[in-house]
Amino acid sequence: MRETSLGGSALLEARDVRREYRLKGDLIEAVRGISLEVRSGDFLALVGPSGSGKSTLLHLLGAVDRPTSGSVLLDGSDVAAMSDPERARFRLEHVGLVFQRFHLLPMLSALENVELPMAEAGVGRRERHDRATALLRRVGLGDRMNHRPGEISGGQRQRVAVARALANGPSLLLADEPTGELDRRTSADMLELFQSLNEDGTSIVVATHDLQLAEGARRQLVLVDGRIQP
């Protein structure tokens, strides 16, 4: 495990965040009062058993979901107070998301997939193309840019997804089980990519069962039953 002390300022601050679901009359407390801070340049791994609330917390941190109570400050903005469209715009510009199942658009090339969030943000055609090209080179896919997701391997797809997450230069990269569909070798490559992005200044939070990946992060938080294990 690497050094945890980071000189950066607080990028993300969660205070006593709770998320409850009502399911057929039952109250499910997925996240039960979590406070944490992520500094600029951090690489944090959220680990814990299945159902412990990792994904739920990640969605709260990334402004995908709103907490039942508590606050999430990201890049100085109170995410919980934003309206739906405001949060969508905020995610587009400030948060990069990577999913276990990639969720790339199968009929678009790798390049077009990476360009998509830029197009949504209103970036011009030429700049979009140049930036997407640079990002795909950065994740090691300089030679597969015009291939569609169905034409490349799982590991390569996840790299495209990482490039897409970085498209609009987010301040935080969030990944939920990014190696969940990958074999051990490819997972190791993915860790290397995350580490190298982190060394270049990208702040990262991953939720994972993958110990190899978790151990490669700068620090880990263990979740059990929606709480952080001391």
Partner: protein, 389 residues
């Protein structure tokens, strides 16, 4: 735009599904076009037929429509002159209709119209000259039977007259004409009014008079003032006749309205189903796209474009199909007994095509909006929770 490229390619991802949707909507679109053409077609073509020869009013015996019954206008000469004296009238063409037999050639029936060749709107000469006192102008049916200009035709009243064969008279064929109001297969000929009067022993009668309104006057107003002046006659403008015909044929329009609505409903259901299936397949991806910040508006636009492309493809196939089907139906319906063959049931113009296309596009895109907007209202985190293992 990237999202539009996505929409287009998404349709190609399931070519069989897209093709079926396109064909289904194309059939609905064809039916809609035909019904729009049929709904307004009759009126438009009836009006243009009635005004072909430039006579805006029709005078018929009181209480009847032109050629509706065997009734005639009495004192035809005096009536014609009286109408002609009106300043708002520039011409009156009397017509006396009769069913006569063609003597010799197995006494077949002919529909004979007696006219004043200088003032008539019943036929348009295609060859030869108007009929003189002992001459006849024949329609296409007789020409197709082998008769031509210079031949002669012997006409006689139907055989119930005791001395019918004595009254038989030969007429030389002076010309061939298109009889505007002839129904399919009707064997029409035109003679001088006096000849028909003679043959049928009706010296001063007319079945109908066609009236030309003086330049610039409103036919409806002239009809109304003449009607007041001649209460014993029925005087109608072409507009009124079209309206009456439209009422008589209103079941055609009701049929068209119902079938047109059915085809729009079919379009809505087809596109709605296809888009709902296609969008449901993509719930996970949609949630992920929304999570990375793609707006509802962009996604709904993408789905709207998807259905728009489907409908555009369907409309272009459907319009061609509709025209082909209309052509076939027209052939069948133009043989409708008793209706002038020149009546077009299906009238084509660009505005009708535009209406049919617009109907399909609006129904299709509207149908896609329902599943699209529903997908946008699914909570992102819960959908991801469900879709990710």
């Amino acid at each position: 735009m990237l999202i539009l490229r996505y929409s287009a390619r998404e349709l190609l991802r399931h070519p069989a599904r897209s093709l079926l949707a396109v064909l289904g909507v194309a059939v609905a679109c064809a039916m809609l076009l035909d019904m729009i053409m049929l709904g307004g077609g009759l009126n438009a073509s009836f009006r243009s037929l009635l005004t072909t020869a430039g006579y805006e009013l029709r005078v018929s015996p009181a209480g009847t429509l032109p050629f509706d019954t065997g009734a005639t206008i009495p004192e035809a000469r005096a009536t014609r002159e009286a109408i002609e004296r009106s300043e708002s009238v520039s011409g009156v063409g009397p017509v006396l209709a009769a069913n006569l037999l063609e003597a010799g050639r197995d006494d077949s029936r002919l529909f004979v119209l007696g006219v004043d060749p200088g003032e008539q709107g019943i036929y348009v000469l295609e060859d030869g000259l108007d009929p003189g006192p002992d001459e006849v102008v024949i329609g296409r049916e007789l020409a197709d039977e082998g008769l031509s200009i210079g031949d002669s035709v012997v006409l006689r009243p139907p055989g119930s007259f005791a001395d019918a064969s004595a009254a038989a008279r030969p007429f030389r064929i002076s010309g061939q004409a298109d009889f505007l109001y002839a129904s399919a297969g009707e064997r029409s000929v035109a003679l001088n009014l006096e000849a028909v009067a003679d043959l049928t022993d009706r010296p001063d009668e007319a079945s109908l008079m066609m009236v030309r309104v003086a330049g610039g006057l409103d036919p409806e107003e002239v009809a109304a003032s003449l009607q007041a002046q001649f209460p014993g006659l029925q005087i109608a403008s072409v507009g009124q006749l079209v309206e009456q015909a439209a009422n008589r044929l209103s079941y055609f329009r009701q049929l068209a309205a119902i079938l047109g609505t059915v085809s729009l409903v079919v379009t809505t259901l087809l596109i709605g189903t296809i888009m709902a299936v296609s969008i449901n397949d993509r719930y996970g991806t949609i949630a992920a796209l929304r999570a990375i910040g793609i707006s509802r508006r962009s996604l709904v636009a993408a789905f709207a474009v998807e259905s728009l492309l489907l409908c555009l493809a369907a409309a272009s196939v459907g319009l061609v199909l509709g025209l082909l089907v209309a052509g076939q139906l027209e052939k069948i319906l133009s043989d409708f007994p008793g209706l002038p063959a020149a009546i077009r049931f299906f009238v084509l113009d660009t505005s009708r095509i535009a209406w049919a296309a617009a109907g399909v596009l609006i129904a299709g895109v509207g149908a896609a909006l329902v599943p699209a907007i529903r997908a946008m209202n699914a909570p992102i985190a819960s959908t991801l929770h469900r879709e990710e293992p």
